[in-house]
Symmetry: C2
Subunit: 445 residues, 2 copies
């Protein structure tokens, strides 16, 4: 007997086997259909959303969660709609030939991008993810199972009805290509469907991502912590360092690409670079968690701590912490090598930066730091799919294989090899019993 | 307290952080050093190998295992040595720029290939894997932990001493870059070091691969079963079909790219294509496991079964089985769509083939079958890194993400993003508080 989760996963696999054969035009038409349906049912969806909001307020949910739930904040609804059209307009990620080799006359090998297959997307609160991930999955030829948090159930059901209706209207894309799961079925049982589900994409808190990574054998695309560091090297420009550090810390402290750790080369503690950076952080209202030698140099430099901010001793744990707030941990390191070692040991392999005028030092840092993004003289806040020019962002991955860093649609495709022959058999070729040699010449494509 | 496995894994991580910063020349020099040392210590290694062989014979190990253990079979030792030089001569897989975008004036983004990090390679019997995988890991800038089976302990220790000595001789590559583990430490405790190990590569039986996949959260590069199918469509050329099927089945039945399932379009059962294929298989000494309708047509065609071969009824399980022998399961399917569905349900997503003269049918098959290799009119036996022109083969992957199909050195690298700026901060740009627009123009590279 199949469990409910297995039935859902098998249904997704069957839909995947159909949608992956459709053309870019057919897939993009489904996105336009979703756009139309969500636009035409705005009233009903916002009514459902108001029910979720009322229940959330009654349950005294934190205001940050209520804000994430609320589809009427600013232009959230319209930008959600526009996002669907934007994804439809992107280049087709499927069917790209990335290698073409003539193995022999009339025996041509092509490596071609194909959809990954079945995605499981698990998210919290934000109902606009439904539109966004449906668009991304369909555009890249994947089937997707969407599982939302229970706090957005009413909105989720209203939007799910629209997506299903929109797909039915296409006549080509199976309605089950996007399955929106609102049953009580536990996420855990979906996470065990590694026979049918190819990739899990968590969209939510670090705790959610960590929970998922701990509980599945399916590859997970995403990141838990974003512990980014900036190392200010010996000959950094003081003003540049101060500007970058303040931007990376304060531009959006809740972002995973915000800086959490500041490593200062020991040699700059006795120069004016040190007070320049520290005073800029204090002026920006950032709490400093400092090691004893930093505290000593604060005193030596006679730096005044404004009333509104705090300077406190750092613990070892602070250098493993994503503060997501106006807080930064600061320590001194004896050398570039120590900075690299610190980052590789304590960081989360997300995005790390060196500030220096010395190109050789920068290159050593870029080669030595084991992170998805390695920056020279630029704010870590640039780590973002839109800023990188990808047009969309599936997430930011700290995995070592497949997609890494900000991930666009290319993270939702893999590849396969197509071999087109005229009856060739292996036994005719050298190494398998015959005398024929392979040509291995590139094919123009 | 660190466990022994954790110490090994951490040591590998530290070595990884060094070797990934070395040049192609430095890495390739280490390969030449390994070549020299293994060549100079051939006598000692073969003496150690003889001890393993004596113990294996005394323990009555099967002759196939003894053959795999034996480094003196044919030119095994010399071709192992040549393999190390061949890998050294390949293009550097590290440091390739795969995307370059000017985000703004003086703010350049590069996507650059980098080593994956730390590999855990688990293998059985074949001691030549030590030279092969050491070469592949070093060439691609990775550290590796090698764990062999206990039946090759003497050979393993002798070769491990050579590899360590060879690396020490380089003066640049840390000796611990390749750790050869001969302790009693269980594989299980290494498989749990997902903090430090980035990729597991099993080199051995299906049972080994399955065990590893079941017992680790680290991504596994490889495949368990190779259940490949050939579908003979309505208008297949009879002679071509017979030649391809016989080659795919008999050229090397123990290979993962050998065909196991033959799907015949119902429409060919009443044509002479059917007896042509069947008689070719019988002549090649292949046992046929057939469904009732195939059996019926065997009778109708009055096909004589030679004494030396068997025709037996197929069970449903036969279509999920990798026979690794002169056995093939045969069934009829009503249509191309049914063939695709059968393969997606029963196959192992390795390599599958359609034989047809109809290009439209072929393209439907190539798009619809969910496998690493999809072939049109060519033997499945071509699924191989050397035949594809990669110069080496790390393994054949049936994963959906990262490397798929025959994997060359590119399966041992990932990428990171390098951003090179001049003090740019996010707050100056639109979307993060400022007015500057991104350029997103390609950089020549």
């Amino acid at each position: 007997m199949s469990s409910e989760a297995e039935t859902i996963a098998k249904t997704a696999r069957r839909a995947s086997n159909i949608i992956k054969t459709l053309s870019n035009e057919q897939r993009s038409t489904a996105l336009k259909s979703i756009y139309d349906t969500l636009r035409d049912h705005k009233t009903q969806i916002l009514e459902a959303n108001e029910k979720d909001l009322a229940e959330a307020r009654a349950a005294n949910f934190p205001s940050s969660l209520i804000k994430r739930l609320d589809l009427t904040v600013g232009d959230k609804y319209d930008s959600m709609l526009q996002g669907v059209l934007d994804v439809a307009a992107l280049d087709d990620p499927v069917g790209k030939i990335t290698l073409a080799t003539k193995l022999d006359e009339g025996l041509d090998l092509y490596r071609v991008t194909v959809p990954v297959g079945v995605l499981l997307v698990i998210f919290e609160a934000r109902p606009e993810v439904i539109a966004n991930i449906s668009a991304l999955a369909l555009k890249s030829g994947n089937a997707a199972i969407l599982k939302g948090g229970k706090e957005s159930t009413h909105t989720f059901k209203a939007m799910a009805a629209c997506v299903t209706k929109a797909l039915e209207a296409t006549g080509t894309v199976p309605a089950h290509t996007i399955q929106l799961i609102t049953t009580r079925e536990e996420v855990g049982s979906l996470l065990s469907q590694d026979m049918y589900i190819d990739l899990v994409i968590p969209r939510g808190s670090n705790a959610l991502v960590r929970h998922i990574k701990e509980n599945t054998k399916i590859p997970v695309l995403g990141h838990a912590d974003g512990i980014c560091s900036i190392y200010v090297a010996k000959d950094a420009d003081a003003q540049m360092a101060a500007r970058i550090v303040v931007d990376a810390k304060t531009n959006y402290p809740a972002g995973c690409n915000a800086v959490e750790t500041l490593l200062l080369d020991e040699s700059i503690l006795s120069t004016k670079t040190f007070p320049t950076i520290i005073e800029a952080l204090l002026k920006a209202g950032v709490t400093l968690k400092v090691t004893p030698e930093i505290e000593l140099w604060l005193t030596k430099n006679d730096i005044t701590i404004p009333e509104s901010v705090k300077v406190v001793p750092a613990t070892e744990q602070d250098f493993y912490t994503e503060f997501l707030d106006h807080i930064i941990a600061i320590k001194a390191v004896p050398s570039l090598a120590d900075a690299i070692e610190h980052i590789n040991e304590h960081g989360s392999h997300h995005t790390d930066c060196i500030i220096t005028k010395d190109e050789a030092e920068a290159n050593t840092f870029l080669k030595g730091v084991d992170s998805a993004g390695v920056y020279w003289n630029a704010s870590t806040r640039f780590a973002d799919g839109f800023r990188y020019g990808f047009g969309t962002e599936v997430g930011i991955s700290t995995n070592k294989i497949h997609a890494r860093g900000p991930v666009g649609l290319e993270g939702l495709v893999g590849y396969h090899y197509q071999l087109k022959g005229h009856g060739q058999i292996a036994a005719d070729y050298a190494g398998a019993g015959g005398n024929k040699q392979f040509l291995h010449t590139p094919i123009d494509h």
